[in-house]
Amino acid sequence: MFATFFHRAVLTAISLLFGCTGEIITEKSGNLNLGVPGVMCVGGISGFTGAFLYEFFWSTPETANWFLAIMIPLIFCLLGSLIMGLIYSFLTTTLRANQNVTGLALTILGAGLSDFLGGYLVKQTNSGGAFVSISLSSKYYMATLPFANDLGWFGEMFLSYGFLAYVAIIIAVIAAIFLKRTRTGLNLRAVGENPATADANGINVIKYKYFATCIGCMISGLGGLFYVMNKASGVWSSDNLEPLGWLAVALVIFTVWKPNLAIPGAIIFGGLSILSYHISANNAISLPLEAKPLLEMTPYIVTVVVLIFNSLRKKRESQPPEALGLAYFREDR
């Protein structure tokens, strides 16, 4: 029973973890990218489009192979997210546009584009159905580790996920080590804290901002891909992806900009967001309908409390990057 709940929570958590890790790296460079929900939508729909093209146009069930079925959506997803990252970086870093406005416009673009393309692709199949499923790719994406079904609760809790879930955790751990232990990570943090000082030390601020934002966006985009392939089992629906993206932004605050804390944090948020559904589905307690929104409110309230708590405590390690949200122009110093 708990194992099932944990399994479901992790399925939501992995998308959050991707989104959150990507956004932490981006924010560490001083770019507050509010376009993460849009990036996740684009990551999801690009991967979906790749899989769709492969399954319906570029191969037949006989010729399809697992390698391409995994790689094509993955590459599409990374490319789509990269383009979003480049748009954001170009506007905010090169053209020094306002980050909040650019980010929100990016979210509008991503959500609109994914809804639009999703509807458009359904029309292309001529099946007349209301949805289209990329069953082949999602089958490979959902393939679990061996022994997942033989080891009882242990298998269900830890082995029963597609490979992207483990990738998410590995990326989060690497990101944590990178930010804390490497020279490049230190430079990146310097750019986010005080770009003028970093610049004076010979760090190429613009390059760091570009790379951090683009890599961050590519990681966030994978969250969208995981959602489409694993959570939604290859059926496109964009309704849940945008709220998930905002939850990932909340998670960044909750985990005080630390990717290693994002792993348990994402599972907690994932658990909270499916709790009401899980309780009513299992009839453990007869939950009144109106309790659902009250439960789903908790991640946001917890985030607000963490935000307030951190600003009251004024502990240096748990503050947002000092220059978060500010454009940098060398000649303004």
């Binding site: 509010l34 416009a105 609109g112 809804d115 458009y120 905002w246 909340a250 607000v304």
Partner: protein, 395 residues
Amino acid sequence: MTIMKKHKSERDPLFHVVRRTDISFGKAMLIRVLAVLAALVLCGIIIVLITGENPFEMYKYMFDGSFKTPRKFWAMLQDLALLLCVALALTPAFKMRFWNIGGEGQVLMGGLGALITMKLLGDDGAHLPHAVILPLTILAAIVFGAIWGVIPAIFKAFWNTNETLFTLMMNYIAIQIVLYFQFIWSGGSNTIPIVNAGRETSTYAGWLRLPAEIDPSFTGSTVVPSSSGFLLNIIIVAVLTVAVFFYLRNSKQGYEISVVGESENTARYIGINVKKVIIRTMIISGILCGIAGLLIVAGTDHTIDTNSARGYGFTAILVSWLAKFNPFYMILTSFLIVFLQKGSIELASKTNNIINSNFAEVLIAIIIFFIIGCEFFINYKIMFNPRKKRKEAEA
């Protein structure tokens, strides 16, 4: 070898960028218009690639979305007024560099305040007369909106809590609160029925509307008034636009807001109480958002759901920013956005949903990117370095 390499990297670049403040208004406007035109051309190309049809035909359909019939025109004005109202609400905070992205939540809470009063005091509850309910409805909307706005402001003022993230979270808390009321007041259907209407003896208590002698289209017997039935909303927003313009430009408080926005240290130095200004401005911002909620719930919808704010809390940020925080320009920018939204809905029906109505968001985003991008050329000047000088530096 190393010396040569170093030398090469120190070569003068092709151009450098300097800030400029002296650009004339006409020239700045010209750059913006060119950017919008460039964006429209790009959008046209995209539309042609997708549909393979004449782009001018498509733009004509988009035009029809707002202007084809008087009813469409009034519906467009109605949405324009609501979007403008939210943008007006956010503007004082933005001028103070307080990034209030919680408009969505503040509008929803204002609307919820109005709905609760109408529901509890109206025909479903205490049966009070219209003249008593209406002021209380207005008051409730304003208070709810102000509370939702002032909470992040207090924390910002005293403990410097990040307001962007705080207000963002408040949106989702508000959405869930509205969902809660949707569940308890819908009787299982998930939509709250129109308040104070639909019965033989209905009084329409708490509804914002013009008296029947001024607005003959609204007789009180129809739930959905005809074309000009929402005129009151438009009048209220027009008055607010003028009020906010003069508040920001001519009042002492407006001056304080712009000083705090320019530099908090300067503000402190000349004796402005920065904490007070932050809190007061966010109360005003919240009140105006509450009024937007009031116009939506008491003015048009007479019910509420999580989409009642129509995403305007976010869109209004773009409206306000694109207009450089000037209330009168905001009329234009909100028209641009509403026009695109209405146009895309029309386009969707004309192209048999090959282009669905979500396409508006793509068009809006592209146009915004172009406008955001062109601001660079207004604020900065690109100076090409003379070629001779570069040669000298290379030598």
